[in-house]
Symmetry: C2
Subunit: 207 residues, 2 copies
DNA sequence: CAGTTCACGATTGTTAACAATCCTTGTCAA
DNA sequence: TTGACAAGGATTGTTAACAATCGTGAACTG
């Protein structure tokens, strides 16, 4: 989920209608759904604006992830057969390929997706949903506060985390993930929020 | 959030319209929101049915809560001043009062609310939202699989948990909460799902 | 009698017109 | 010049009619 729309951008119904060639009803339904996920904010009689998380919200997101993800990875390292991990193994391959081809857009997308796939590998539907929301929100935040170069997760930390999981080393896996999250968070500049490029492209995956 | 509607009950738009005296648009919007929270299930061209979690989903819910809630309570016991806990203290008073008056409905409602207030006391918006969804889903499950007598959380376990938090005893608080969740889960009969009373009353709090 | 088909009623999905609200802009007065 | 105010346009919220889909039951056929 890449950052294509600047926060606070207004999403007018009419514009979305013609952009996607779809009726107003569909657009309004999509906007309602997006607002329920906190991706946009609906203001009564005023329209929809893409969410603009502030410093405090950013901290909350990372605190929530810090609460959930480490024990999740630990648990995964404890009791997971290679069958469950196939998803993650394939994912790392995709990430490597994208990094080799220097497809920046794809790298960013996959970088977030890795974390949702960790949740998916747990096989728990609710944990998956929670993590997906948190990762989406993290993408928004990184797009807002992130320094331009390390917008993606640094280097091959993902790969190392997976290796720790595969070798059934819960402590290491957990520790690596904690470091990883800290790296992401410390790569943010909480003061000067930069304007992201206003692109207006394909967000709203399925209406 | 009490159980007033049997799972798999169909919610027809027309019926909801006249029940709540509101236009079809409002109803549809509410249904979409409820479905996004997993409370109901929307089937295309067929209508809305209240969700009917199965055994596996029930396990997932408790697993997710087991992952999140214990460290949350531990954390709360570590760094919380009495100011943050005022919410919980007042809540326990409400529970006691309701239990004294034997207001069964109110007891059940407050019993779930205690757990969302724990999340609220953390001050983290996202954790609060996650916990609220999990508690709602737990209510559905308890209504489905719960033995009739212990539909609410047993006795004064809530009160003991709060005391452990107030006395800054993280280990005890965490342990009490784990036991508490286990009690709730073990009070369920996963085999014969009983039909809940079909009442049709005020769900859909705010349209 | 069992099974299939078709038509009708009921319900949901969609569209378009209408109402209400908000924002802008132009005007006027201090 | 600046501020308040009002009119107009633009945008969102709502309603009601229409279209599409689904379930049911009767009629028909083997």
């Amino acid at each position: 989920m890449e950052q294509r729309l600047a926060p606070n951008t207004k999403l007018s119904e009419a514009r979305l209608c013609e952009t996607f060639g779809v009726g107003r009803m569909r657009v309004r339904r999509a906007l309602l759904l997006l607002s329920s996920q906190g991706i946009i904010e609906l203001q009564s009689n005023r329209g929809a604006y893409v969410a603009c998380p502030d410093k405090s919200e950013a901290n909350d997101v990372f605190a929530a992830r810090m609460l959930i993800e480490p024990p999740l990875v630990r648990q995964l390292a404890q009791n997971s057969d290679d069958c469950n991990l196939e998803l993650l193994i394939n994912h790392i391959a995709l990430e490597d390929a994208a990094r080799e081809k220097k497809e920046r857009t794809e790298i960013i997308r996959l970088s977030g997706e890795f974390h949702t796939k960790i949740a998916q590998a747990s096989g728990n539907k609710f944990i998956f949903r929670m993590m997906r929301e948190l990762v989406t929100r993290t993408s928004l935040i990184v797009g807002l506060f992130g320094s331009s170069e390390n917008a993606s997760c640094p280097d091959d930390e993902h790969s190392n985390i997976l290796k720790a999981i595969q070798s059934h080393n819960p402590e290491l896996a957990e520790q690596l993930l904690i470091s990883h999250l800290n790296h992401i968070q410390s790569g943010l500049d909480m003061e000067a929020r930069q304007e992201a490029p206003d692109d207006l492209a394909t967000i709203l995956g399925s209406d």
